[in-house]
Amino acid sequence: MTPSVVSNNNSPFDPSDAFLMSGIRARDSESFSQLYDRHGSMVFALCVRMLHDRDEAEDVMLEVFWELWDRSGRYDASRSSPLTYLMRVTRSRLIDRLRARRSRQRAELSSGEFSGISNLELKNPDVEPLAETLRTEQHALVSRAMGGLTPEQRQAIEMAFFDAMTHAEIAAQLKEPLGTIKSRIRQALSRLRQTLGTLEMS
């Protein structure tokens, strides 16, 4: 086992995400562990939120971090920050899983009508997307930004983003006109852009 870099959570010399990614590319398992310890719970939270199933969430999380290690060459530091890359890879796999699950569900349903995702949501009380405890600055800022939306806007964004539903699916689910949903989401995004505009993405 390689000796670990001297650092602790309170040190001003905590290695940055970019530093850890270069460590991972150099096959340093210590860098990998640090990155996992730093971002694992957020990746896992996203997986649980989108899949509503902890076992499947664990599978996807492992796939994501394994890809991070095994295909470390794919990360291009000039294109995105490590955190953004991690989020993108995670979401991409989660959406693939959701699509596969939904086409199975659609095949199983006797009527061809899409339903069921938000029913799953109601049955999962331990998942609280925007709880009050704020751990990091970014977490605080994003929570606050979401809190600044109207309840309808927030719901629409959550269904679009965290439940990966199309505008049409959301409109059908909420029994609202398609145009209303489209403009609601555009307004929500506009407000989010304003409040998140100052967020450091590194």
């Binding site: 150099a26 694992g40 664990e58 989020m87 979401r91 990966a164 100052t198």
Partner: protein, 279 residues
């Protein structure tokens, strides 16, 4: 399709929910260079990419971490060689039962297997060598990082010692500054060493400067115009700012802070935000 309609599609595209059939037309529109739509996509992506950070983190099960690290360790272990497998012995019986040509084929297969086993062993030794080399590289990188950490720590220690010495020096005056009605909550302290015009300036509870602007410290002389003494921002509270101030023949009677454009200004822009007089 209008750009407004494209933008609704771009929203779905950035969230990964756009129908595959609609993708081609959308991408060709983006590639045609529509600035409005391209910047809309970039902004929307920025806004949504970090939404997962708003979720309350959930601790993954400890076994997950264990599985990952085990898999990493397995990857660098050398391959199992095939040499432990015994070679089949009953070549003679095969020859007798099946016939020469087939037996020859089997013999060839067995020789091939021996050759493969040898190759595997060489590959395994090579892998061990590579592994050792990789470990050596990791150790080197680790040492390098430790050295860098140590250098940074020494540097910080040196600067801190300098600051403390300065504050304790008998020739240094301490000036307390208070916020004016523009920023009543602000507090600041300046340590002024008139012998070398060195100023250590600390500000707390200041609101972050407006976008594109920064705070500027001014030395107010007994006569003449206020002298610029350095710029600072107030993103983290209680961060000390050491400003190297051009030496002045004038006697300094007060300090003031104003908000200026980020690159500074030749004269202070009213209002004064924080001020204090030398006693």
């Amino acid at each position: 399709m209008t750009c407004d309609e494209f933008k609704d599609q771009l929203v779905q595209y950035s969230m990964g929910t756009l129908e595959a059939s609609q993708r081609a037309e959308l991408l060709s529109h983006l590639q045609s260079g529509c600035a409005d739509c391209n910047s809309f996509l970039a902004e929307t992506r920025e806004a949504v990419t970090l939404l997962p950070l708003g979720l309350e983190p959930i601790e993954p099960p400890p076994k997950a971490r264990h599985r990952l690290l085990e898999r990493i360790a397995d990857q660098s272990r050398p391959m199992q060689t095939g040499l432990s497998k015994p070679l089949p012995r009953r070549v003679g019986i095969f020859q007798a039962l099946i016939g020469g040509a087939i037996a020859a084929g089997i013999m060839a297969a067995i020789f091939w297997q021996v050759e493969t086993h040898r190759r595997q062993e060489i590959a395994s030794l090579q892998a061990q060598l590579d592994d050792t080399r990789a470990t050596l590289e990791q150790l080197k990188a680790s040492v390098q990082r430790t050295r860098e950490n140590l250098r940074q720590t020494s540097e910080t220690l040196r600067l801190t010692t300098e600051r403390v010495q300065m504050m304790q020096s008998p020739g240094v005056q301490m000036v307390s500054l208070q916020g004016t009605e523009a920023q009543p909550q602000a507090k600041a302290r300046a340590y002024y060493d008139s012998s070398n015009s060195r100023v250590e300036f600390y500000a707390t509870d200041m609101r972050p400067a407006a976008p594109g602007k920064a705070y500027e410290l001014w030395l107010i002389p007994k006569t003449g115009a206020p002298m610029p003494a350095g710029m600072f921002t107030a993103d983290k509270a209680s961060r000390g700012v050491a400003l190297a101030v051009p030496s002045t023949k004038e006697q300094v009677v007060a300090f003031a802070v104003t908000q200026e454009p980020a690159l500074g200004s030749a004269t202070p822009t009213m209002p004064i935000l924080v001020k204090g007089a030398v006693q």
